[in-house]
Symmetry: C2
């Protein structure tokens, strides 16, 4: 009820072993965990965050790039049949947003966007304090906010999405251009294909000018996309998480400056940009919250 | 209750005569209209749409570019003191969106954006069937969705907003560039400063290539901004109204094509772009609806 984690287990998905195998593993670990806590707690509902497109009402996992073989799997039904409690499933970005909104960096805000910076750029929207999913449960795709209609090509195949600028590939492309100038940098000594955003953050932390510029530009582009969204949604908070966001203020400070520069004044005054607090736990804490909410308004 | 207009009056605002003068005129016309219909109807609530920033909860008109002298006017209180019914006020774009959503081109959709193409580019959002206003009631500013972060300067002072491309000034700027090519067009014979979007629509309707290109580009840019919003909000309908939208499919067809080209497939499938149906009546019909809703859940 208060976002405190009572018990936690981590197991590999083993997605290549097939859908039923994965579901059996989920059932098994849920059963074990339930037994471990049943002395002190009664489990009333279970929340799940999954990486892909979900039909929340029907409890179906439709598809997702990291879940090969999973097409229209009625996961909620399959799990509810085995357990004594109700199950709800949502997209991983949505539950992470809910987790941060209720128990993390977004506390106090009812209108919130969570942005996840990683290989891709993820998004989850909380409006009026609830997960906003849109007409067919596929909303929240902040990563495909277009900031330059004739810009670089994105992984989605379209042009100028914010992900094309600040997804890992976009960041590395800009780094490569800057390194080509020949300017001195510890990153010049690394094999380019092995450089990760973490290496850039580290070099920036040590004062490397090229790395600092790359992160500053990353924040700048992020701020542009945030401004579009804030103009439309008049948000209270934007929570930024994900691996790349570990660079912290090296990205968030220029992002805030760029947001201020690109947003309408009245909306700009109302919004705060903050780093995520719950890290990798945001997802399951938010999923648990979703389960609580479902249990409160039994429909 | 069914969106039918029973009685309608139009009076000039006379905003330069001062706040109290305008309020007195509103009171007078409301009194006259109430008397005319009181035989057949009991007025229970009044809805107002105003061009500017509104604090809906407190009933205060904060400010607006077309309302000089109006700063933090408690209009709802001033009108409620004089009448026997409750009053609610919202932004004109919001009430127009609600009108179209409930009784116009948006019927059946609960997730909807209304775009108004005129001197500026207005926006009103309906989410879960209700007006979405955001944290401080200033949301819905679709006109300042950025489609090119280093693009042309907008009236808001920032760069690359959709309004800078397809507000009247943006449209005329592109026309001017094309006319400079010297290519034959009936618009070449007109004094440039007198050309309006309506002249462009007329020329396009007559097959003028330059005018057709200008409208096609207008639709193209509009589709880019729509794609960003649809990716984020997974909308069911976008209703396009306003004077410039009278060009109809000359703008809407390229807008739909551009939207399809720039939007993620799953969200693109779920959304329809349609022309507005209620014209200038959308605002007061939506304001009346807002009043009905307020009266239903007396808070």
């Amino acid at each position: 009820m208060d976002g405190k984690v009572v018990i936690q287990r981590e197991i590999p998905t083993q997605v290549r072993m097939g859908v039923e195998h994965v579901i059996d593993r989920i059932k098994k670990v849920v059963h074990e965990m339930t037994q471990e806590v049943e002395k002190d707690f009664t489990i009333k509902a279970m929340g799940i965050g999954m990486p892909g497109q979900i039909d929340v009402k029907q409890g179906i996992f439709i598809e997702g790039p990291n879940m090969p073989g999973w097409h229209c799997v009625p996961l909620v039904e399959k799990l509810e049949g085995q357990t004594e409690f109700r199950v709800i499933m949502d997209n991983d970005a949505n539950v992470a947003a809910l987790g941060e909104a209720v128990f993390g960096a977004g506390q106090g805000a009812t209108e919130l966007l969570m942005v996840t910076l990683g290989t891709g750029v993820g998004g989850g929207l909380i409006l009026h304090g609830k997960v906003y999913r849109g007409a067919t449960d596929v909303g929240g795709e902040f990563g495909h906010t277009i900031i330059q209609y004739d810009g670089p090509v994105c992984a989605c195949g379209r042009k100028g999405c914010i992900e094309a600028f600040i997804g890992t590939r976009g960041i590395l492309n800009r780094l490569q251009e800057k390194l080509a100038s020949g300017k001195d940098s510890p990153l010049q000594k690394m094999e380019f294909n092995r450089i990760t955003p973490r290496d850039i953050s580290r070099a920036a932390g040590e004062g490397d000018q090229i790395a600092l510029e790359v992160l500053r530009d990353t924040g700048y582009y992020l701020g542009v996309a945030m401004a579009s969204v804030v103009n439309l949604l008049n948000l209270e908070k934007i929570v930024v998480g994900g691996g790349v966001a570990r660079a912290g203020d090296l990205i968030l400070k220029p992002a805030r400056e760029s947001l201020d520069q690109h947003v309408l004044e009245v909306s700009g005054k109302a919004v705060q940009v903050v780093g995520a607090k719950l890290g990798g736990n945001a997802g399951f804490i938010g999923a648990a919250r979703l389960a609580m909410l479902m249990n409160d308004n039994k429909d």
